[in-house]
């Protein structure tokens, strides 16, 4: 019965050994997240209690992270604790379901934090289906107290996964470009933060303009465009060590980099004599390979998650459109045929959709289409929306939105792939070019 999952060196997830009730899994709560505009599931998340069922500061903090993650997903609506009837909840006791049904709760989370002798903390929690009066999940995590925020994300991921059947994405990060200074002298630095906007941290100095950061599949490295020495070149930055190297050192400018799904290659544009074509660079052998050969602008390449195909934008037919080709550059097919211009394609980590920026009648839209170009849907529209990036489970997109005006600047937003639940993602200042980390599990 006890199952241990090593997530990292620090946290250990254990399925709680004691079942509080015998459960027969039938007609338990389930959120279908593919439909969009679902009524959020009412969930009661109690502050996790401390030793001897006393209130615990860290327990309340953890519960707040869980609440905030689940609420932001748009799939849950946490119930105000002021209305809770049953008090003194204990993680190892059955709740009084009637008390929770009266306040329209459907799911109930009860947790506890205890101090271990080695200074770490143990976090136990149970998820209850209030209507079926059954336990849906019971887990224990062990971590260091300073990682309470991370623990909250892990708990939220576990609840999200149990109730939606999808992989959670709360334990992930976003790299983006932090923007300061006036519009004509913008300073642009790379920054990294948790997916909910907490713990932002600058990772380049701002001495050179930094643009379009993208995570490696291990999330330990970033490839981006740097104007170091006023020469636009593709760089590789190790987040942990801060070490940097130029990977796009060719005659001509390199830009628009991304990793291949296996992390072995960087795909990017190389410009020579005004023409931009797509190349790959093998990071181990340093062998580069040309994939397109046109007099057009071929840029913004992105691999499919299986690494076998590449989507990119090109103006070879007159204006920006999306094309898909095999990983060796063969079999190029145009996939966008709608009105307007299509740019910045990104392949979903699930493989099922390609997100893009679309320019139409002076407006900038974010949309998705299937890899064969069918089923185009616009998710958001406005003066300027640009540069979508996928959450690791392929259910949410982040992008940046520019406001009109000299003093204005860009900010980050998220929207569900269904087009619902559009929300700003708070950053300390202006922010653009977001990219979401893969899951590190």
């Amino acid at each position: 019965m006890i199952k241990t999952i090593m997530r990292t060196m620090i946290a250990v997830l254990v399925v709680l050994a004691t079942q509080v009730s015998v459960s027969f899994a039938q007609n338990l709560l389930r959120i279908d997240i593919t439909q969009g505009n679902v009524d959020p599931l009412p969930i009661a998340i109690n502050p996790f209690q401390g030793q001897n069922d006393q209130p615990s500061m860290i327990g309340a903090d953890i519960a707040n992270v869980v609440k905030s993650d689940l609420n932001r997903s748009g799939l849950f609506q946490s119930i105000n604790p002021a209305g809770f009837i049953e008090k003194d909840l204990r993680v190892n006791a059955r709740p009084r379901f009637g008390d929770w049904r009266i306040i329209n709760t459907q799911a109930l989370v009860i947790g506890k934090v205890s101090n271990l002798e080695d200074g770490r903390i143990s976090i136990e929690f149970r998820l209850w289906d209030v209507v079926a009066e059954q336990q849906m999940m019971g887990l224990q995590l062990i971590s260091t107290p300073s990682n309470w925020r991370w623990v909250g994300h892990l708990v939220a991921d576990a609840i999200y996964e149990r109730l939606t059947g999808e992989t959670g994405y709360f334990d992930s990060r976003i790299v983006y470009v932090d923007e300061t200074g006036p519009k004509n002298r913008r300073v642009k630095r790379l920054a990294i933060m948790d997916q909910d906007g907490h713990n932002p941290r600058l990772i380049t100095t701002g001495q050179s303009l930094a643009l379009t950061p993208r995570f490696s599949p291990t999330a330990q490295e970033i490839t981006y465009l740097s104007y170091a020495n006023r020469q636009p070149r593709v760089f590789l930055l190790n987040i942990e060590t801060g070490q940097q190297e130029i990977v796009g050192d060719f005659p001509g400018m390199t830009f628009a980099p991304r990793f291949s799904p296996d992390g072995q290659k960087i795909i990017m544009s190389l410009e020579r004599n005004g023409n931009s074509n797509i190349y790959t660079l093998d990071l181990r052998t340093r062998v580069s390979r040309r994939l397109t050969n046109t007099l057009a602008i071929d840029t913004a390449p992105c691999y499919a998650p299986d690494g076998e195909r590449i989507v990119f934008e090109s103006d070879r037919a007159g204006r920006q459109q999306l094309y898909v080709m095999d990983a060796d550059g063969k079999n190029v097919q145009r996939i966008s045929y709608g009105e307007g211009r299509y740019a910045t394609p990104v392949w979903s980590p699930r493989g099922d959709l390609i997100a893009f920026t679309k320019q139409l009648k002076g407006r900038f839209l974010i949309g998705v289409m299937k890899p064969d170009g069918s089923g185009e849907r616009i998710l958001t529209e406005g003066y300027h929306n640009e540069g979508p990036a996928w959450s690791p489970n392929g259910r949410v997109l982040t992008f940046f939105r520019e406001q009109k005006g000299e003093k204005a600047g860009p900010g980050l937003w998220t929207v569900d792939v269904t087009g619902y639940n559009e929300r700003p993602l708070k950053t300390p200042g202006f922010a653009s070019d977001p990219a979401w980390s893969p899951l590190i599990r």
Partner: protein, 155 residues
């Protein structure tokens, strides 16, 4: 690694100090005159010859005006033993990567025309700034048209 991700929350304070340093150090302002110390040559290029040409939306085609400016630049290069960096720029109404490529296309259009006028290509470099360095900041074409430009800068 985990510790590294989680540890710092000094974003705002660090941001402020680096911003000051960066403004003082970078020198990449509204107009970039490179590192030339020859101020009279810079003045002549900017005021008398004309250091920039303008482009239509999503185009690197050289207008008649643009061509006459480039001819004056080519003449100027015949009497001045300087080398130029041609910076290509785009307005803000495009996507980032495409605008970087478009700026390069514009800078190269200027370079190619100068070479056709007899300028030695080894005296000309190009760089694209995409939409990153606008000179006019309003959200109207009156400003955007000034940002769709190439600027020839003495190396």
């Amino acid at each position: 690694m985990r510790k590294l991700f989680r540890s710092s929350n000094i974003f705002v304070a660090l941001g402020a100090s680096i911003l000051l340093a960066a403004c003082a150090a970078s020198g990449t302002g509204t107009s970039s005159y490179g590192s030339s110390k020859d101020e009279s040559a810079v003045k002549e290029l900017v005021r008398n010859v004309g250091d920039r040409v303008f482009f239509a939306t999503d185009s690197a085609a050289l207008s008649a005006d643009a061509r006459s400016t480039i001819m004056r630049q080519a003449d100027w290069l015949r009497t001045n033993s300087k080398s130029l960096t041609i910076e290509g720029h785009a307005d803000e109404r495009g996507t980032r990567e495409y605008n970087i490529a478009l700026g390069a296309r514009r800078a190269n259009a200027v370079k190619d025309y100068m070479i056709s006028l007899g300028v030695d290509g080894s005296r000309l470099e190009t760089v694209s700034w995409g939409k990153e360095r606008p000179v006019s900041l309003c959200a109207e074409d009156a400003c955007w048209s000034k940002n769709r430009r190439s600027v020839s800068v003495i190396q």
